[in-house]
Amino acid sequence: MSPWARFRSDFAASHLAMAGLLMLALILLLALVAPWIAPQNPYDLGKLDLMDARLPPGSASMDGALQYRLGTDGQGRDMVSAILYGLRVSLLVGAASGLIAMLLGGGLGILAAYLGGRFEQVLMRIVDIQLGFPAILVALILIATLGKGVDKVIIALITVQWAYYARTARSAALSERNKEYMDAARGLGLSRASIVLRHLLPNALPPLIVVGTVQVAHAIALEATLSFLGLGLPTTEPSLGLLISNGYEFMLSGKYWISVYPGIALLLTILSINLVGDQLRDVLNPRLAR
């Protein structure tokens, strides 16, 4: 059996993980095609009708043209459309920050393992110290000092995540460094860059991917939390967190749908990523290799 086929069958052994994968695929698809399937463009304020504000799920719009299956928010936005578009924002911010953090942290971690010495010591000390602080506090320090905005939120999310990648990449690279194939590559007289990029990196990748899935879920949750606190993304293109936050004021008067449905979308997104990540960790863990 090829490694890829074995990986697939190992992964599929858990029904829960497969369900998570399916759910994740569906969510990604929905986010991708949102502009074509959403009943309305929630960002186009001209299209919104304040007469339609806070309608319960299932009501029709005042002009009868539209049915609000999940109700409307305080500005008369169709919740289905708002959630689909919000999903795009949340996933994009989570994935972008995760990817940049992985490249940055992973690169630094592998470099630290390869170079060793002072560079490794200082870098790992910084990682240790930063990981001693919870993500929300680090993000809060950054947002409080840098100010608000999409770029700032992404910077904060990258800062929060890079250390995890750096630590994982370093330890993975350290355990690979002395293996025979590395000796072989060195013996062949390959260039340093080629050894690191073509031999060390691919083999250090599995643990990074595992950390990556968990971190993307964390990033999405953290962005939602910051947006909920009013420190995240701008209100013009609301992410899921902001949608939930917008519904907060109506919650006490029993208008649950404005907060509850975006929350379910957020929960399903994070849950599906975590289910996939959990199984990936088991499958890719060499200590549990069959």
Binding site: G241, Y248, M251, L275
Partner: protein
């Protein structure tokens, strides 16, 4: 041991200095603090007077030096909003946050360790699988959203518990504590549960992993072979050994609970320092933001230090290692 402590203390000071520099540059250099300090209608002369009075006309390193000097003597400036020293404003609110964090941690430990033990001892059972699935769910639930749901269900629909505020407090040991008062406890229950949820999942998973590793080890098999009752093997032999990593993680997580209280306090309008700092950020009350960040970072470093030392006390192997260094 002494060397370890000294080294950690030096590192602590370094981290505090770096944080203070970061916060200082961020808060004091971005934008013009004078705008924050004067009446918007003030004329140029008034602005200049304020600039000189607060030393804002000095070069940056002089300002930083003064900021550090004041900080060392416990003076981080007056709150713009409250007109009192920022440190006092924060410290006043700290007991409420600590109380909430402690209650949340207790809930997480009291429920989490037994569930984790069970899931670890019978890993293939139906209930254990249910516990583990529940813990993944607990990891995935956005804390603030759960807070909203708790308010909606228990406060709005059922009306069992109050949704916001702290309720009456009882004065004990010079602090105002609300969980000693029945009504106060009722106020604390929802936010503490909300805060506990994530840690509960963490403790379940950690306990289970520890149990599964330890039940295979010789000392457990030996204890069983000796014919000790299962209750004693689990309750004394196993529990003692899994406690070391658990205590470490619980200690470190206490800090993160304090930080995450920012979110919970905002939802439940709990008058702790987390709610205070969010309000301060919106009101541009810079001294309070700075004081909060520095005090929390200091608190954090202190917690990490204590946990490290505790770890050495609990685990003889660590003690031996550090004496060799």
């Amino acid at each position: 041991m002494l060397v370890t402590i000294l080294r950690r203390l030096a590192q602590t000071l370094l981290v505090l200095a770096v944080t203070s520099l970061l916060v200082f540059i961020g808060i004091f250099m971005v934008g013009d603090p004078v705008e924050m300090l004067v009446n918007p209608q003030a004329d140029q002369e008034e602005r200049e007077r304020v600039r000189v009075e607060f030393g804002l006309d000095q070069p940056m390193w002089v300002q930083y030096g003064r900021f550090i000097g004041n900080a060392l003597s416990g003076d981080l400036g007056n709150s713009f909003v409250y007109g009192r020293p920022a440190v006092d404003v924060i410290l006043e609110r700290m007991p409420a946050t600590l109380e909430l964090a402690a209650l949340a941690m207790i809930i997480a430990i009291v429920i989490g360790i037994p569930l984790g033990l069970y899931a670890g001892l019978k890993p293939d059972g139906r209930i254990a699988r249910g516990i583990m699935a529940g813990s993944i769910l607990g990891f995935s639930l956005p804390t603030f959203w759960v807070g909203l749901l708790l308010i909606m269900v228990f406060a709005v629909q059922l009306g069992w518990l109050p949704s916001t505020g702290r309720g009456p407090t009882v004065s004990a040991l010079g602090l105002n504590i609300s969980i000693l008062h029945w009504d106060g406890l009722k106020h604390a229950l929802l936010p503490a549960t909300n805060l506990a949820l994530f840690k509960l999942s963490l403790i379940i998973r950690l306990t289970r992993a520890q149990v599964r590793e330890n039940v295979m080890l010789d000392y457990i098999r030996f204890a069983r072979a000796k014919g000790l009752p299962t209750r004693r093997v689990i309750g004394v032999h196993l529990l003692k050994n899994i406690m070391i990593p658990l205590v470490t993680v619980i200690g470190l997580e206490l800090g993160s609970v304090i930080a995450f209280a920012i979110v919970t306090e905002s939802i439940f309008a709990w008058p702790g320092m987390g709610k205070l700092v969010i309000d301060a950020i919106f009101q541009l009350d810079r001294p309070v933001v700075v004081a909060y960040l520095l005090i929390t970072v200091a608190l954090f470093i202190l917690i990490n230090l204590v946990v490290d030392l505790l770890y050495a006390v609990l685990d003889p192997r660590v003690r031996l290692d550090s004496s060799k260094v």
